[in-house]
């Protein structure tokens, strides 16, 4: 029997199998696209076409309400591990000149005495992202914003390259090293809190996450509270807000104290 005979309505296997399959498909489609949507009284539809489009998953704007716009500007930075991976010497040199205006808070060697973050040896893409976010308004701070708004793209890249180039120095107020708290190593899985160390070092480092060793305890605590309260919103996909909201105040204190007590030299060299 040739292919033509198989695919012929005279072949009972063809007629029955195609008929049954098509019948089941039509029945289930009617069930899934028409009957079941109507069976849900909380769904309101303009007509049958509206019902079918909705069940097909076609995103549509409801006539009654516009799409919800975020209250705050969100970060638009996209990072990969190779972003700014190989800065040029010229870029680092220009960054050094530009960084003079940052020194008043972040210290002439990139180590702060004013509870601002230590920038010496921070990952370039971290500095790049924060500066872009300050410039766009995704991250706000009365002191930082005026410095950032007028920076060009190249200046931001240069500053990131310069600070990434600087050697990591001991924190200004070295403390006795503390034991690793649970939240840093285990997180709190039942509350959906990943271990701090799985992104920020100690266990692993993920692109875009800063290392935190030797940073100001006050600064770290303030930022965690800002994420938890929704005051700071430039974390992509709410990664930090979701974590900070689920952390207890005690865990925030422990994590901040632990990272502040660590010498920054232990951060794994990556370049």
């Amino acid at each position: 029997m040739s292919a033509r005979e198989i695919f012929s309505s005279r072949n009972p296997y063809f007629a029955i199998s195609v008929g049954v399959v098509a019948g089941i498909f039509v029945l289930t489609a009617v069930g899934g696209f028409i009957i079941l949507p109507y069976a849900q009284p909380e769904l309101k539809f303009a007509g049958i076409w509206d019902v079918i489009c909705s069940a097909a998953g076609l995103p549509q704007r409801s006539a009654s309400s516009d799409a919800v716009q975020p209250v705050r500007r969100l970060s638009e930075v996209v990072l990969t591990p190779t972003t700014l991976a190989h800065p040029t010497q010229e870029s680092i040199g220009r960054g050094a000149t530009l960084a003079q205006r940052c020194a008043i808070c972040h210290g002439p060697t990139g180590v702060s005495r004013a509870d601002s973050p230590n920038l010496a040896g921070q990952y370039g893409i971290v500095i790049y992202k924060e500066l872009v976010d300050f410039r766009s308004g995704a991250r706000t701070n009365a002191v930082m914003a005026p410095f950032a708004v007028n920076l060009t793209d190249r200046e931001i890249v240069d500053l990131a390259a310069y600070y990434a180039f600087l050697p990591r120095l001991p924190a200004y107020h070295p403390q006795q090293q503390l034991r690793k708290p649970r939240v840093v190593i285990y997180g709190a899985p039942i509350r959906g809190v990943a271990p701090c160390g799985s992104c920020h070092g100690s266990l692993d480092n993920k692109a875009g996450s800063p290392w935190l060793e030797g940073q100001s305890e006050t600064y770290l605590k303030f930022q965690l509270h800002a994420f938890a309260s929704g005051q700071r919103t430039n974390d992509i996909s709410q990664q930090m807000r979701n974590i900070a909201r689920a952390m207890t105040p005690q865990e925030i204190d422990e994590a901040a104290a632990y990272y502040a007590s660590q010498p920054s030299e232990i951060v794994k060299a990556t370049d």
């Binding site: 198989i6 079941l36 949507p37 079918i52 069940a55 076609l58 591990p81 799985s198």
Partner: protein
């Protein structure tokens, strides 16, 4: 007529060797996340191990078993030498190359993305390329199965294709088409991002592509098991196959309805419309049909064996079955595990019931019960049955084989039943660490401990299996005779053309893929606003 024994043995040994290593990793995972161990303090090690375990168990191991068994079927059922032996070796070495290429970045911690890929997580490109090579290697096997059948048909025009070969080719076609989903995801979406050509990925579309592969792949894993049910079991226990046509219909049904049902894996995903979820849910219900047909046919075949051995009465035939025969034992265990696993599957496919168990340990328990239990125990049976014919030596001691099967059966129940239970209690899956001191999950500590003990039993059974196969090579040589398959009560002399060819069924399979997947894929692929930034793991 097994001529290319070395080829078949190479496939089986690579499959079972990888299986042994992955089993070791699995047992280690069960142990370190149970209350028996304090915790390794680094989740990355856990996910690294999990990725290797899943990749080997999901892609490499069953594919190689299906391929090796497929070559054995081709030569012994068709009674002809395998055509394209060089290509078969090329496929084998591609799989070796792919497996090594994939496992090196995983071992280095550069691709801890789990075997289901989970974009926007992106690992090292070599991992994905390695997986692609494994799939390409298996596609060579698909082509060879088709070509060998064609060669046989030319010499035997109009004759019914032996059931074993018919089912084998059906399985290869199912695999060829179902692997396309993951291949599209890898080639069009993930690999460009892993190579740095793009930095964003449409994770929702990627999940839909993967669901295209993810369910039917289970039926591809299942194929050797079902072929063994129909064509090995009745012969091995001295009976006859109840119905040859029923077997053909079951494999044809698998070909048609195993494919267009994968969206039941994405019931919780917002990017797929509820209407399509319902259609896939309904079609998933249909896939129970070939399994029910099989259970009926095989039970009837086993009853024939029991009656031939003098069993009488309603249940008297069960007692006289050859329970000392490892194949008899394996098929009984396999059916029990399939029954429990299938019942769990009916819960997963239901849109409403799934919401209770979605992303919990129930799901992990379910697929270990089905794949590790019902399916793999028949892989053991296939190996025990084929080994004397491949090595020319008898198995060392059937008591060892029986003990191994018993251990696997008991171990699988001890592992997966508590696993299901903690899932119902709400324990999430894919987590490296559980704080059993937390009052929310401390009641689950006992069940998880039990599960870990089950994993140790499985590991012992797996090692015993490898020991039996290895020592069989050193037995004294015996003549095992020709390798044969079951004979039906009424051996087919003529078969309707539709039950002897695949064109109609492959057309239906592709047609249903278009109706059930076409729109969700088209709409996601055409929208510009569905991509998210990739998250690179193990870099920096």
């Amino acid at each position: 007529m097994l001529v290319n024994r070395k080829l078949i043995l190479a496939h089986f040994w690579l499959a079972f060797g990888g299986f042994g290593l992955a089993l070791l990793l699995g047992a280690w995972q069960m142990f370190v996340r149970s209350p028996l161990y304090a915790w390794i303090s680094n989740p990355e090690w856990y996910y690294r191990s999990l990725t290797a375990h899943g990749t080997v168990m999901g892609y490499v191991f069953p594919t190689l078993v299906a391929m090796g068994f497929g070559y054995a079927i081709t030569e012994s059922a068709l009674q002809q030498r395998l055509v394209g032996v060089r290509w078969a070796w090329a496929g084998f070495w591609l799989i070796v190359l792919g497996a090594v290429m994939a496992m090196v970045p995983v071992a280095l911690g550069r691709a801890s993305v789990l075997y289901t890929f989970y974009p926007p997580l992106i690992g090292n490109a070599f991992y994905y390329v390695g997986v692609v090579l494994v799939v390409v290697g298996s596609w060579i096997w698909v082509a060879l199965m088709s070509i060998n059948l064609r060669v046989w048909r030319r010499e035997h025009p109009g004759e019914p294709v032996p059931l074993a070969m018919f089912a084998n080719v059906a399985g290869s076609y199912l695999w060829a088409w179902t692997a396309v989903g993951a291949a599209l995801e890898l080639l069009l979406q993930i690999i460009p991002v892993a190579l740095g050509w793009k930095t964003t990925i449409d994770a929702g579309l990627a999940r839909v592509f993967f669901s295209w592969t993810l369910h039917a792949i289970v039926y591809f894993w299942l194929m050797p098991t079902y072929i063994a049910y129909y064509t090995i079991v009745p012969r091995a226990i001295g009976g006859r196959l109840y119905s040859d046509s029923m077997g053909r219909i079951a494999f044809i049904l698998f070909l048609i309805v195993a494919m267009p049902i994968g969206i039941h894996h994405t019931f919780a995903d917002p990017q797929v419309g509820a209407g399509f979820k319902f259609i896939h849910s309904a079609f998933t219900a249909l896939v129970a049909l070939p399994t029910l047909l099989t259970v009926f046919t095989i039970c009837a075949s086993v009853e024939i064996a029991g009656r031939l051995r003098g069993g009488r009465g309603l249940f008297g035939w069960i007692a006289v079955l050859p329970w000392k025969n490892p194949i008899m034992l394996a098929v009984a265990f396999s059916f029990v595990l399939l029954g429990f696993g299938g019942a769990g599957g009916l819960i997963n496919m239901s849109y409403q019931l799934d919401t209770t168990v979605h992303n919990t340990q129930w799901i992990t328990g379910h697929f270990h019960l089905i794949f590790g239990g019902a399916i793999v125990i028949m892989y053991f049976a296939i190996a025990y049955d084929l080994w004397p014919h491949l090595t020319g030596r008898a198995l060392p001691d059937l008591r060892l084989a029986r003990a191994q099967l018993w251990l696997w059966f008991v171990g699988m129940i001890v592992t997966t039943f508590p696993w299901h239970w903690v899932g119902i209690l709400g324990m999430p899956r894919r987590m490296a660490y559980y704080d059993y001191a937390d009052p929310a999950i401390s009641p689950q500590a006992f069940s998880v401990t039990l599960s870990a003990i089950g994993a140790i039993i499985l590991l012992i059974s797996g090692l015993l299996f490898l020991f039996i196969l290895a020592t069989a090579h050193r037995q004294t040589a015996t003549e095992a005779g020709a390798y044969r398959f079951s004979v039906a009560v009424h051996p087919p002399t003529t078969v309707p053309i539709a039950l002897n060819t695949f064109a109609l069924w492959v057309a239906l399979m592709i047609g249903l893929t278009v109706t059930n997947y076409g729109y969700p894929i088209a709409v996601l692929a055409s929208r510009p606003d569905t991509s998210v930034p990739a998250v690179y793991v193990g870099a920096q």
